[in-house]
Every structure is written in C-alpha cells, then in structure tokens.
C-alpha cells in the first residue's frame, strides 16, 4: 500500500467533508479551519492534480455561476479508490493509535 502524504490526506478528508461543494475556494477554507494555515492556490492545485493522477480524486467543471463573474468551478469528488484509500488510512491510524500507550505528558515526568 502506498502511503499518502499528510497534505493529500487532509485534502481527501476535506473533499469528503464538503461532499458536493468541494472546489478550490471551499477546500482552501476547510484546510484553514482544520490546520489554521493559509494555503496558496498553487499548492492546492498541484496536490489536487497529483491526487487526480493517482486516481483518488476526479473533477468536473460546474456550470458557470454568476457569483464568480460567470466563471465555472471545478468540483472535486472522491473516486471509489479515493474513498477506499481514506477508509484504509483511517483504519490504519486507529489501529496504530490503539497499540500505543495513552498519549499524555504524565509519563514523561
């Protein structure tokens, strides 16, 4: 199994979270609320592109919307593979965390 990078993981999560409203602007905002960091559009697009190449994400152009000055959005969706991947990651993480002692500062002191 290929391990996705953190960024890619976060992207997949936010696309899943946003469901049908996942496009560059909303994804960027979602990432900001999740991580507290502002992402550049460039970085966003490059990562999304990579995910699309791996077949985890697909996209389509929406109809032009007046709110964007007559420009269309590129809406991103998880593919079946993408969803599998996300599930796998989650399982992996949970299983890993289960095997670790509880994470507190007490032990250290």
């Amino acid at each position: 199994m290929k391990i996705l990078s953190r960024t890619e993981e976060l992207l997949l999560i936010s696309i899943w979270k946003l469901q049908k409203n996942a496009y560059a602007v909303t994804i960027r905002e979602e990432l900001k609320t999740m991580t507290g960091q502002i992402w550049a559009f460039g970085g966003l697009f490059v990562s999304l592109e990579r995910l699309a190449k791996k077949g985890l994400v697909e996209s389509s152009l929406s109809d032009p919307t007046p709110e964007r000055g007559g420009r269309s959005k590129r809406i991103y969706r998880l593919t079946g593979n993408g969803l599998d991947e996300l599930i796998k990651i989650r399982k992996l993480q949970e299983s890993i965390w289960e095997q670790v002692p509880k994470l507190t500062h007490e032990k250290l002191s």
Partner: protein, 864 residues
C-alpha cells in the same frame, strides 16, 4: 455566502494576466477562484486588503511562469545559434556566397541610402523652413510661357510692404560674380554674391561673430564665410577690417558666417549689399527697377498663411518686365522644395533620387534572391534535421522561427561586414556622387535605426520563403529519404534566377543606353573649335584699353587669335523676343539670343561664314558695324528667304539692324538643347570674357607671356585663366558621374547575380554527380557533359533576356524622350547586354561544369 457573492471584482490588468497564464480551459480554475476569494476578502477586510492580496498572488505566480518560459526558449535559442554557426562553418562555400552577396547588396543600399538622405535633407535645416518661399515668375508670351525665378529687384521690397502675409523678404543677385578681393597684400578672385542682408535673418546661416545689419543703411558692410575670413585674416579678428573688392569698393566686415552646409542650394562665401551693383555696373536705378528680371526674391510669410490663397491673390499682379509689355506674374513656391522638385515641378532632383533608390532596392533584392535560392536548394541537407525536430515535437512555428532567425543572423553578419565595406568604399562613392558624406553619418541614431530596419527586413524577406518551405517538410518522407524533396521548389528557384538576370540585364541595358547617350551628346559637334583655347575675364583697365591689349597679345608668337564676348560662349543667356522681319509668321515669337563680340570671333572659334561677311577689322572704332548684325543658320531658317544678307530685322523696340552675314550654327548653350536663333552684335564696350587661341606647342611659355601682358594692363588683378575644353568637360561632368555611378551599380548587380548562380550551379552539379558518372560510363564526352550542365542555366538567362529587352527598352526610350538630341537604342545594345549576361553566366557555371565533367566516374559511383 451566496448573498454576498460577486459584489467586488478584481482589477482588470492583473486579472487578464492570470487569464493568460492559467486559461480556464486547463486543469485549473484559478481566475474564478481568485475572483471569489477577492470578493470575500474585500467584504470581510476591505478593498485595500483584497487588492494587496490579489497583486501578491500575481507576483507569486508571475515569476515561475515567466522564468519557465524564458528558460525553455533560451535552450532552444542556444540550440538554434549553435546549429546556425555549425552550418555556416561546415558549408563554408555557400556561407561565403550568401554572406558576401548580402554584404555587397547591403553596402550598396547603405551608400545609396546615405546619399538619398543627404539629397532629401537639402535646405531642410532652416529653422523657418515652413515659412520660407521663393518667388517664381510665369511669363506669358503669345505662343508659350516661361516659368522661372527671375524677378525684378523692385518686387522684393514691394512684397514686404504691400502684403501683410509677408514678414520678410530678401533679394539675391542671380548668380555670383568673380571679383578680385583684396586685403593688404592678399589678392584673390572670389565669388561675391550681392544681396539683401535680411537673407541672413530669414535663413539659418548663423553668424559666428557680428550681427545682421540692414544692407540699405550699411552700404559698406560685408559678410564673409568662416573659410574666407580665415584665408584673408588668419588669426586676426575679422570684424571691422576693410576688404577692397574689384579694386575700388571698400567694405567693412560686419560678420562671419558659418560655412554653408553642403546640403544648401544657395551657397556663397561673400555677401555684399545688393545696392553695390548700382555703382559697380554704372546703373543708378539698378536695384529699384521693374524692368530687369535677373534677381532672385525670397520671402518669409507669416505662419499659417494659406499659400494657395496668397498665390491667387498675387497672381493678379503683373510685375512688368523689360519693355513693359510682357505678362509676368509672380507666385510663391516652397523654398525647401526647389532642390527636389524645381520651381515648376520639373527639373528637380527627385527623379534621380527615386531612380537610385530603385536601383538600391534591386541590388538588395538580388542578394535576397541568392539567399532564398541557395537555402531552398540546399533544403535536402537540412531536411533530416527538420524531420528530427518535428519528430521530437517541434511545431511548424518553431521551425519557421528557427529558419527566420538563421537568415537574420546571416543578414546581421553581412551588415557588420558591409559597415566595414562602406567605410572603405565611401571615399570613392563620395567622389562619384560629389557629396561630402562621411562614415559618421551612418552612426547617428535615426540613420542607424533605419539601417537596422533594412537589415531586419532583408533577413525576413530572404528567410521567409526558405523558412516556410523547410518547415513544411513531412517528417516521414524526409527521414525515409524519399527523393525529390529539394526539387519541389525548382520552378520557383528557376523563376528567381530569371528575375535576377532580368534585373541585371535591365541594368546593363540602362547603363549602355545612358553611356551611349552621353557619348552621343559629348561627341556632337559644338560647331566651333574648343581646343587650345584659353579664356579669362576682362576687367579693370583691360576693359578700357581692349584694342590695345588685343594688339599686344596678338604679337605674342604662340597666340593665334584673340577675341572677346560679353558672356561665355558655353552659356549665352542674354536674350529677347518680339523681333520682327519682313514676312515673319505673326503666330510665332521666338526667343532670340544675343551675343556681343568683336570682329575676330568667327575666325578665332573657327566658325564658317555661310553667307555675306563677318564684322570687319577696318572698322576698328566699331561705328560702322554697330547697326550690322550677323545671324546664325537657325535664324536664317526662320526668316526663310533665299538670301538673308542685306535684309533688315527689327528688335523689340523697333530698332532696325542690317543682316550682313550668316554663320554656321554653333552650340552656345547645353548640348542637350536644340540650337536656337542667335544674333551677333558688334559691341566692344560690353566685353567680359576674352578668348585666346594659342598654339599647342610651348603652351607654358605662351601663357606666361600672356600673363605679363595682362600685368602691364591690369597689375592689380590676379591673372586667372582657364582652358575652354576643360570648362566644357566640366559642364557635362554631372552626366558623366551619373553614368559612372550607374555603371558601378550595374556591375555590382551582375556580380551578385553571378555569385548566386555560382552557388546554385555548384549545388546542382553536386546533385547530379551520379548522373554524370553514369553518363560518362555510358560514353558521354566531357564537352557533352559541360553542354548538358550549362544548357539548363543558359536557358534561364535567355528567358530573362526575352523579358528584359522590351521592358528596359520601353523605359529607356521614355528617358531618351527628355533630350532634344538623342541616340536611338539599336539592337546592338540589347545584344551586348544579353551577351554579356550570358557569357558571364556561362563562365560562372562552366567552372562547376568542367569540374564535374572531368571527374572520374569511379569516384562518383563507387559508393553505390
């Protein structure tokens, strides 16, 4: 979020840049996304924030995008350069032909361009050039009209006083006077121009020292040019120094003018007040009269004057000429147009300028054609490269850029060489063209940019066809090596060669016709004997003691004849009309030219007397012959009677004259003109020119004896003489130069064409190496092969001949129409031009042909 959507839009310029960099059709929807965020930011945090954010985004995006593009193109650019230089280096022969052809072509064009610019700049340096005009006059006679610049001297001041549109006016005497100018012990003969000093106010001939005074109030003021001031005063301050002119008139230097630029039509070194001529020529009313049309009037008008209106206004005015009967009307013509267009729109230099510009374009296009031909002919050698480039992803546009760039490099290399060539050719060219161009004039910004444009254009023109041709190759075909790739354009190439030779042959024909015409005119019988004749001005005491001086001179052993005239025999300009005689056709009123001379004239010039007698020497006091005149055959023809001797003719005033003799026609104006009727008067008081025929042996001795006689009569005047034949030579030197320039350009055209032909021939023969090998194996002879190879090229030259003959013939016949006496274009001219082109072409090819023909077939066939 929807409610607040789309209220704010980002600024247009950066947004458009984004659109360029990331078009929506791609994977990204940057523009739309950025719009939305911009809108959100400006709603939440204000417009300033949004703007700064947006611009920041742009700057982030710009750098990588631009640098990536640049980097990519740099790689290709370096590659193109490398390939170009590799090709130049590897195919030295073709490169040399291409570059030298282009360099020669460019050199010609640069030289001609410099000359044309210089010609066009004539009189343009005057600050007031927009408001400066020259007064032209239209004289209407019963049967024809004359247009000229001769105005009566009274008109200049009247113009300024009577018409509010005219701000300033100045008169100049028509032509300069050769007068003795003396300062202390320095005496030289100088050209002195008489005129109003307002001339210096109107025209931009700046003074180095002194200032412009009024010539009316300062009749003793004089202005000198820098060079004259230095000649007479050296390092002394010239202001206020006294110069003596013509022995009697003292002038104080009021100012020193900068030397007149060579691109000024009016040029003189000494300007003296116009009023001087009243005393000098003993003509008290000379500058106030209305009846002498021999002054130039210049006018400066108020700005924004509608000159057409003004001309209709003054057209009603008759500025009366000599007898008061002529209809002479003035008009203003732009001063700056005179050099180019002449006063009437004819006789300007614009025709010559256009002609040479056309020649320059022709020669440059010959060089371009060479380039095109050789590049397309050698296309096969580049075909694989094109194929490879296409296979690895080059687009047509990339290839076109590459090949255009290549030809640009060629033309820039040629340009560098041609600058050097111009540097070395300029002295010869200025000598030919009689203008003081310097290499410095290449390096001023407008000229240099103009030249760069020409170079660029040359590169584009010569590279365009090869570029499109090469870029159109199909990779599969060329890489597989399907034959015939290079032959596709052979028809085009052939027509280009035909075009080249068409131009060359045309130029040769023009050159031949021009030089034939010059030889024809030059070889025309002047009607008098011009050899061993010296002439000099009659001045001072010589004028008063003419007969005594003549007697002294005739005693010198080497002197054969001495005679004098009022005007030089090469340009007799004194004339009049309204002459009358018995049986005159009332509908014609010919201009009759006047020549004042003495009794030795016919004998000295060896002009035959056809009827009657010449003035006779026994009437030395001139009284007897003062009412007698001699006419020429042309005049006698006009009178039309069997014997004209003894008949009476009347001048414009009705004064009767007896015709006592008819002399053979001789040429007293330009050889281009028909010989006009002339009347010879006996009038020894009017002599200005003395002609002395000397023996052709011991010329120096004779002349020094003549000088000593002059010194006894005129000790204070410099002794200056000239030979008449040299003077006549000089009169036609302009035409001769014109012919020489034309010859050199025609020669260059032929050289360039042959360079191209040489390259093409060597290429074609190399293509046919195997064919020749097989032919030889099968028994072809060397001559057979040579003929085979030459025939093809010869055919094109013959076709070019067929086209060039009628075209050049047509235009040259039109050109010849300008001359009263003209040669005809014989079949010889065509045959010579065609023959020269053909022979040179065949010689060019034959080198390659012979080389191919004598090579051993083994060498060409062994690789098979």
């Amino acid at each position: 979020m929807n409610k607040r959507a789309g209220k704010h839009k980002p600024p247009g310029i950066p947004r458009r840049l984004f659109e360029k960099m990331y078009p929506d059709s791609g994977n990204y929807t940057t523009v739309g996304d950025l719009d939305e965020v911009y809108n959100n930011i400006s709603l939440d945090r204000g417009k300033v924030h949004a703007l700064t954010w947006y611009w920041w985004q742009l700057s982030l995006a710009l750098f990588p995008s631009v640098s990536r593009k640049l980097y990519g193109s740099m790689i290709m650019f370096v590659n193109y350069l490398k390939i170009t230089f590799r090709n130049i280096y590897r195919q030295k022969g073709y490169s040399i032909i291409n570059i030298s052809g282009l360099a020669i072509g460019l050199t010609c064009s640069i030289l001609i361009l410099l000359w044309v610019l210089n010609e066009l700049s004539f009189d343009n340096f005057h600050e007031n050039s927009d408001t400066l005009y020259i007064v032209g006059t239209k004289m209407t006679l019963p049967n024809r009209t004359y247009t000229g610049t001769g105005t009566p001297p009274a008109f200049g001041p009247a113009l300024k006083v009577e018409y509010p549109e005219v701000v300033n006016s100045a008169r100049l005497q028509n032509g300069s006077n050769r007068l003795a100018v003396m300062y202390k012990d320095k005496v030289f003969t100088e050209s002195v121009r008489f005129g109003d000093f307002s001339f210096l106010e109107m025209f931009s001939f700046p003074l180095i020292t002194g200032n412009v005074v009024s010539s009316q109030n300062n009749p003793e003021a004089i202005y000198l040019s820098e060079s004259i001031a230095e000649k007479y005063f050296g390092d002394e301050d010239p202001l206020g120094r006294v110069l003596t002119i013509d022995r009697q008139y003292d002038f104080k230097v009021a100012g020193v003018m900068k030397n007149f630029p060579q691109n000024s039509v009016v040029r003189f070194d000494i300007l003296a007040p116009l009023e001087t001529i009243e005393s000098m020529y003993n003509n008290p009313n000379g500058t106030r009269t209305w009846s002498n049309l021999s002054f130039i009037t210049l006018a400066q008008v108020r700005e924004n004057t509608d000159i057409e209106d003004f001309n209709t206004k003054i057209n009603g005015r008759i500025i009366t000429g000599n007898g008061g009967e002529e209809d002479v009307r003035p008009f203003l013509a732009k001063y700056t147009d005179i050099y180019l267009y002449g006063i009437t729109g004819e006789g300007g230099n614009i025709g010559r300028i256009i002609l040479f510009a056309i020649v320059a374009v022709f020669i440059l296009s010959l060089a371009c054609i060479n380039f095109m031909n050789l590049s397309t002919a050698r296309a096969t050698t580049r075909a694989k490269e094109v194929g490879m480039r296409k296979v690895v992803g080059a687009r047509r546009s990339n290839l076109i850029t590459q090949f255009l760039g290549e030809s640009l490099i060629f033309s820039f290399i040629s340009f560098c060489i041609s600058i050097g060539m111009v540097y070395f050719a300029l002295p010869y060219f200025t000598d030919l063209a009689q203008s003081d161009l310097t290499i410095g004039s290449v390096f001023n910004i407008p000229v240099f940019t103009g030249l760069l444009m020409i170079v660029f254009l040359t590169g584009i023109v010569s590279g365009s066809y090869p570029a499109f041709f090469l870029a159109a190759f199909r990779p599969v075909k060329v890489i597989k090596g399907i034959p015939g790739v290079g032959n596709a354009s052979s028809l085009f190439r052939k027509s280009l060669v035909v075009l080249q030779f068409f131009i060359s042959i045309g130029l040769i024909i023009c050159t031949l016709v021009v030089s034939n015409q010059l030889a024809f005119v030059g070889g025309r019988d002047l009607g008098y004997d011009k050899d061993n004749m010296i002439y000099l001005p009659v001045k001072g005491e010589l004028k008063n003691q003419y007969f005594a001086a003549r007697e002294e001179l005739e005693r010198i052993p080497g002197v054969l004849y001495v005679t004098s005239t009022q005007t030089t025999v090469t340009g007799v300009y004194w004339n009049g009309h309204n002459w009358d005689w018995e049986g005159k056709d009332e509908n014609v009123d010919p201009m009759i030219t006047y020549l004042f001379t003495d009794q030795n004239f016919a004998e000295s010039f060896n002009i035959n007397i056809e009827q009657g007698r010449f003035f006779q020497s026994e009437f030395e006091n001139g009284e007897k012959d003062s009412q007698n005149v001699i006419i020429n055959e042309a005049f006698a023809g006009l009178i039309g009677k069997e014997t004209v001797v003894g008949s009476r003719i009347f001048n414009g005033d009705g004064t009767p004259y007896n015709v006592i003799g008819v002399i053979k026609d001789f040429n007293f104006k330009s050889l281009y003109n028909q010989i006009e009727p002339i009347v010879l008067f006996y009038s020894p008081r009017r002599f200005n020119q003395m002609y002395i025929r000397i023996n052709s042996e011991n010329v120096d001795d004779t002349i020094s004896r003549i000088e000593s006689v002059f010194k006894t009569f005129n000790p204070e005047f410099p002794f200056e003489y000239r030979f008449l034949d040299e003077r006549i030579e000089l009169m036609y030197s302009g035409e001769k130069r014109f012919g020489n320039i034309f010859k050199s350009f025609a020669l260059l055209a032929v050289i360039i064409s042959c360079l191209g032909l040489f390259g093409l021939a060597s290429f074609m023969t190399s293509q046919r190496t195997k064919e020749i090998g097989i032919r030889k194996v099968l028994g072809a002879s060397v001559t057979g092969v040579i003929i085979l190879l030459s025939r093809e090229f010869a055919k094109w030259v013959v076709i070019a001949n067929v086209i060039a003959w009628p075209v050049a013939g047509y235009y040259m016949n039109q050109w010849l129409e300008n001359f009263a006496y003209r040669t005809s274009i014989g079949i010889n001219t065509y045959l010579i031009a065609g023959g020269v082109a053909l022979i040179v072409a065949v010689l060019t090819i034959s080198y390659q042909a012979i080389k191919a023909a004598v090579s051993r077939p083994v060498d060409s066939l062994r690789y098979e």
